[in-house]
Assembly symmetry: C2
Homo-oligomer: 823 residues x 2
């Protein structure tokens, strides 16, 4: 290439960049093919630690530019002779400083990944020349340039040997911790250590001392049993949550290193994984959140939200249906910043995957709309892994699956590549053999000094990254006040003052309505005041009544919208919502289907509860009241089954005020998912219901007794509260003192004081009748051994709802008869 | 082709065929390419109503034989001049009798489907010549030849018009029934009527008067909401379960035409569908059962088991993860006789599938190892549909997905191709418009006489089919006595006499063991006496302890084996087992995973319960007792959640005898699935446990009181029964009269008489302490308001099991303390 032919065109918005010039991330350069001198505008990306350029397919196919490298584009002379050195030139100066060579990625023509030139050692070195210092950072700041982090490790043999040492450190931390616990899964960490190293040491942007820094790259270990991989990486990177003692306490009581990654135990762990397939689906949610927030808040001059989501998933995750559901959506939504590593090791617990898993994963993912790359040597092919990541980043409109073929238990001479290394300690003898095999002379849990030293830069770099971002946010805040306030609320989780005033209220004169419709009124009221509220339904939006009327659909090309269309993928939907909720404290995802189909997503709901993800489950058609669709669609045991699940709020509102109360509670309970069971059928607005009542879980809605001593207490929830009220009216006409209690949420009621509970259910009053269109299982505790629970302890039936209620004996008459037997 | 050049070589086993000659289903013929006179042995298949021939790929690629038709192979002269007419000749005579033309299917070269020559009208007509009557059936029997059923409808315009009339009959039966019920889903039946017609009228082999005939083809409407399609077809075919009145009672109380297909309500419906994705997975189970039984029982001279499984699934099913799981297995297993029609209508409830479902289903299924065919005109392309079915049958080593592009609500001028026709009645006005549009002058529910007449042959044909099969079975029974007895047991569901004697028994001196290991002893004992027992685990065979030691793996090439490898696909596994269980009354599928992962398959378990499928769920690692894997793997609420589910037996055995008892009950409960919660950890063999005790659900295992009046009753289940026993020992030492009750199955206990219940839990004894390593939800009813339930109402933790038990207070000391407070 002839010097002086290059022109640069800073197309980036650089008004406020000054000291943060390295945040500049793209520019367009007119350049020339070294072979044929063809001129072309080439779009350069400087994002994420590497140079990428986008080349028109036809040009690439003709062979132009393929051997182009940043170093060949500009030479020192150009830079030196330039009379007005600009930001882009300063940036490009980095490219001049050495001799990186082009690496056409994977023989694809549409995109070519170029490696950024390397420096001389593993530790950051200064550029060999810096001809202008006008806006160039000093040598010492250069050392802290985070974007240079990826630059370091490619190059000489010495460098590779330190990488290998780091990778073996990861392997042995996993081996040693599992050995000490005599429990755990060494196989995956041993096989995935190379990709783990590259991700945490070379690629990802994070701040070890603030694991909650908003703009961090997210990492999800979907194959959660391999958690020692993640613990080892967090340890090396300098997270306080995983110190040496924590590694030694792996899988022990109250340790921060439990048997599977748990976000609520270990800062630095984003989501809770272990149940297979959940993690990849969570990652889809994390990537959705990034894409949505970036589209809403980024400005041409300030891309305040910009991070990747990385995942490692294994054969087990790949077999799970939830993974297919979530990945189908990821492809549909074009989540280009989702990069998933598929640890293709051919071994699952039952042995070779040949016995049950012979599909073509590549082909399936191509069908799902993903970009697929195969790294054939995941054990030692560091450059292959790096190139794949670069290629993945260059593909902006599709998520990428990097199939990395690895050997499970790599390094263990007798157990590698077998199921025996999957889920139990190697045993002392094999640990020794592995130490010999990998040339590892160190004591258990030892991190060699050079490895330690190498990783030590992540703490200052992480701090710098966050500081830079904070500066960027300050600039954003000054210029875009309103957006910044919204975004801040999403980042901190602080609810806008007075938000709850938006909740609609109702009087007994308000028209009767189905609680699913009332739910929609609440959602549409709340979305005006809660910037983090977004969600949708599993292809039942018009039945679940979940559309936000002031927004369009979140889609590939309209990611700023808030109606999410999940398709008929309940399980994936739940797990995606977990990912959204755990992305930022202020995001409040809701999702919807028929209540009976919580069965499809129960594993995800349990993870919501365990991982303290505030997801609002809008579950309509909550009983036989849905009528003709019949028993396959009629929930019976579902209320009981969620009341038994820890840390879930099961709410069954009876009318408008209770529905508003349910939403208030659901939003306020920051670390608890809520399930709202809502009716398909119309229900009257009842006297005595209230938001405050709902907040207590159970409360008196009417009572004609005195002295806390009614003749009988009638208890109802949801659509049957009306029946209790009707029965009470009749009984009162006959002179009875009747209390009607709405038990809208058992969990909230359980949280109340004993005195309050006694004020609602005086122990002296044993005449109690409950009515609920669901299993009576569990009601024994409420109505006591002398009371009566009216419910349904069989499957439902297909018929008009009124008929089923009557046939099943869910009527005021039945309540009256039961009450009369008791008092 | 020159007459006399053909030679035939009867390679079939025809020893016992005589009157059942039409069961002959393949032969090899040396024939000649009409174009180039190349000689070749061609393998002819006569199965399932059509001629297929297999042609070497290279020959086909060269263009040989492609225009070959059965009629061109043999002419009357050949037949007439033959001196020794054989079975194959007799069969071939059918081919001679008219002038069908070749239809190379879908431009594929490897396999070409040839249509069997057509007859003159829709009603079966005699062959034009029958030159030899030696073993040819008479004209009247010919009319009942079932294999000729497919022959009828291809041909003249008149025929097609009757097909169209029949198809419109199906459409209007659906329209009218939904309209009358003012509830239901007309869209799918209107779009799928053509494929429905072809399946039930031309392709499938069944006996309307015995819907349970063993060797019938199975049909599953996975898109169960379109059930009016199936009801209309069953009605036309002559099933007694769906008469005109039943259609008029669609979706009404106690009708046989509920809102979704329910096998327990409507004979002719194989499985219960509606929850999306279940049906296709059930179908995989049905096809697995066929492949397994055929491999076990078919003989070279008597293929006693031979049927297809057909499915219709929609976009909704395709989005569900369970469908992907099951279809991945179907591909892996090479279930060639599974043929699935994907109703590709681009509409789901939320509108166009573009909003959430843009993946390439074709590509995904190819990746899953399926053969994929696309019928572009599913609305009127009858011949396309027929050709696709032929092609699908010709592909023997892969299941086939026939993507049929249809218009939802076809025929409705204003609502077709929109979601509005998916799930609600058309409305009187649009029904009228549709009648006009499709030229349908008839009253609601009217079946035109010619359509009725046309379909009327299925009753005699079905009877003949079954009679023929019965004759075949008699022959089989004579020759293969032992196999026939086994097969009969599978067909009838009658258990071999004395089977229960195989159950192992234990004494307190037997070694302590985990109940998961004891379960394996039971499985391996039972498989020797129960011919229908087969199953496996979701990639946890060595943890769940489910391997049958005397058998190998059920795989594509070893389908006679009984260890099924499901991979990590819990949901698919459950639904596949439902299909196996509902294939034949004597098949007893079991499946296994960790108890906590019932969450992944809960929707399938619920369908087991609802559809009365005897599946045995072997669920190990049933509590915090699994230890270090932590809360993601530790079930808490699961026991309660299944106790609340109707028609499920939840069993939690405490030791060897109770595990044997659990298996006895699980096998005997023919219409109920059982869930066995089994320990990972070792448990002692307790004194007082028994199989008989388990059969009662709850029973006294020890008691030092008299007069049914203990001081306290200690109640335990599973691994905590031991703790109750230890506490009782201590309390007795202190002089207390203590009863210990094992409450191994609440459902079985509920079935006992009041007197028995009182004998176990005397109402006078209110001092009751329960201990169970799970949620206390529901125990209130057992221990009463004065008793105490010790359990776990939080999530678990990662630590060695003993430590968690101690930290969570599940100890003899805690039981003793609670007991002392009460007595």
């Amino acid at each position: 290439m002839k010097g002086g032919e290059s022109k640069y065109d800073i197309a980036t918005h650089n008004e406020k960049i000054n000291e943060s010039w390295w945040l500049l991330d793209w520019l367009r350069v007119t350049t020339t093919c070294p072979h044929c001198l063809l001129h072309l505008n080439i779009y350069y990306e400087l994002k994420s630690l590497s140079f990428l350029f986008t080349l028109p397919i036809n040009k690439a196919a003709e062979g132009h530019f393929l051997s182009l490298s940043p170093a060949s584009l500009f030479d020192r002379k150009t830079m030196a002779s330039s009379s007005s050195l600009t930001l882009s030139q300063a940036l490009l100066a980095r490219a001049i400083s050495s001799h990186g060579s082009a690496q056409p990625s994977d023989h694809r023509v549409s995109l070519s990944a170029l490696s950024i030139p390397t420096f001389s050692g593993l530790k950051s070195a200064a550029p060999r020349s810096s001809t202008s210092r006008r806006r160039l950072p000093t040598r010492s700041t250069w050392n802290h340039q985070v974007r240079s982090a990826a630059v370091e490790t490619i190059g000489t043999a010495a460098e590779t040997s330190l990488v290998e040492k780091s990778v073996n450190t990861i392997r042995f931390l996993a081996i040693d911790a599992v050995e000490k616990a005599n429990s755990g899964h060494p196989g995956l960490p041993m096989g995935c250590a190379p990709m783990g190293h590259i991700l945490y040491d070379e690629v990802m942007r994070y701040n070890p001392k603030n694991p909650y820094w908003f703009n961090r790259d997210r990492f999800v270990l979907s194959a959660g049993h391999g958690c020692m991989l993640q613990y080892a990486l967090l340890h090396l990177a300098g997270y306080d949550s995983v110190r040496e003692d924590d590694l030694k306490n792996f899988r022990q009581w109250e340790s921060r290193t439990p048997g599977h990654p748990e976000n609520f135990e270990t800062p630095g762990v984003e989501v809770t994984t272990g149940p297979l397939g959940q993690g990849i689906a969570n990652a889809v949610g994390l990537a959705l959140a990034e894409k949505h927030l970036a589209a809403r808040f980024n400005k041409p001059d300030n891309e305040i939200i910009d991070h990747y989501t990385y995942v490692i998933l294994g054969d087990g995750c790949q077999m799970e249906g939830i993974a297919n559901e979530a990945c189908s959506l990821a492809g549909h939504w074009g989540l280009g910043k989702l990069i998933a590593f598929y640890d293709d090791n051919h071994i699952s617990i039952d042995g070779d995957t040949e016995i049950a898993f012979t599909e073509s994963v590549d082909k399936r993912f191509e069908g799902l709309g993903w970009h697929v790359i195969w790294v054939k040597n995941g054990n030692t092919g560091y450059d292959e892994i790096r190139a794949a990541i670069k290629e993945a980043k260059a593909v902006k409109d599709k998520p990428t699956l990097i199939k990395v073929t690895t050997t499970i238990g790599y390094g263990s001479p007798n157990k590698a590549n077998s199921y025996s290394v999957h889920g139990s300690a190697l045993g002392a003898k094999e640990v020794d053999a592995t130490r010999k095999n990998l040339g590892w002379p160190y004591e258990p849990f030892h991190v060699p000094e050079d490895v330690k030293g190498h990783w030590s830069r992540h703490v200052p770099q992480g701090a710098a990254l966050e500081a830079e971002w904070n500066a960027k946010f300050s600039a954003y805040e000054k210029k875009y006040k309103e957006e910044a306030a919204e975004l801040k609320s999403i980042i901190t989780g602080e609810l806008p003052a007075g938000w709850e005033k938006a909740l609609p209220t109702y009087t007994p004169e308000s028209p009767a309505d189905a609680t699913r419709n009332l739910s929609q009124q609440n959602l549409n009221a709340l979305v005006k005041v809660l910037p983090g509220l977004l969600g949708g339904s599993a292809d039942l939006a018009s039945s679940n009544m979940t559309l936000l009327k002031m927004f369009g659909d979140f889609q590939k090309d309209t990611p700023e919208e808030r109606n999410v269309r999940f398709g008929v993928r309940e399980h994936g939907m739940g797990a995606i919502c977990n990912g959204i909720a755990l992305h930022s404290p202020g995001l409040i995802p809701y999702c919807a289907t028929f209540f009976v189909f919580t069965d499809y997503m129960r594993a995800a709901i349990r993870i919501s509860a365990l991982s303290q993800a505030r997801v609002i489950y809008v579950m309509t058609h909550d009983s036989i009241g849905l009528g003709e669709d019949g028993p396959t669609h009629q929930p019976i045991e579902h209320l009981a089954s969620f009341r038994a699940m820890p840390n879930v709020l099961m709410l069954r509102p009876a009318d408008g005020n209770e529905t508003a109360g349910a939403y208030k509670v659901a939003v306020l309970k920051r670390k608890t998912p809520s399930i709202l069971a809502l009716s398909r059928q119309k229900l009257p607005q009842l006297a005595g219901t209230s938001i405050e009542g709902v907040e207590k879980g159970g409360y008196i809605i009417s009572d004609n007794s005195s002295g806390n001593n009614p003749d009988v207490i009638l208890i109802g929830t949801g659509s049957e509260l009306e029946i209790a009220v009707k029965a009470a009216d009749e009984l009162r006409k006959e002179g009875k003192a009747v209390r009607v209690v709405s038990l809208v949420s058992w969990e909230l009621f359980d949280e109340q004081s004993d005195a309050y509970k006694e004020s609602v259910f005086p122990s002296a009053v044993t005449a109690r009748v409950s009515i609920e269109a669901g299993s009576t299982f569990g009601w024994g505790k409420i109505v006591g051994s002398k009371g009566k629970a009216i419910g349904i302890d069989r499957f439902g039936a297909s018929a008009p709802a009124g008929r089923i209620y009557k046939e099943f004996g869910l009527t005021p008459e039945a309540v009256i008869a039961a009450a009369k037997e008791l008092c």
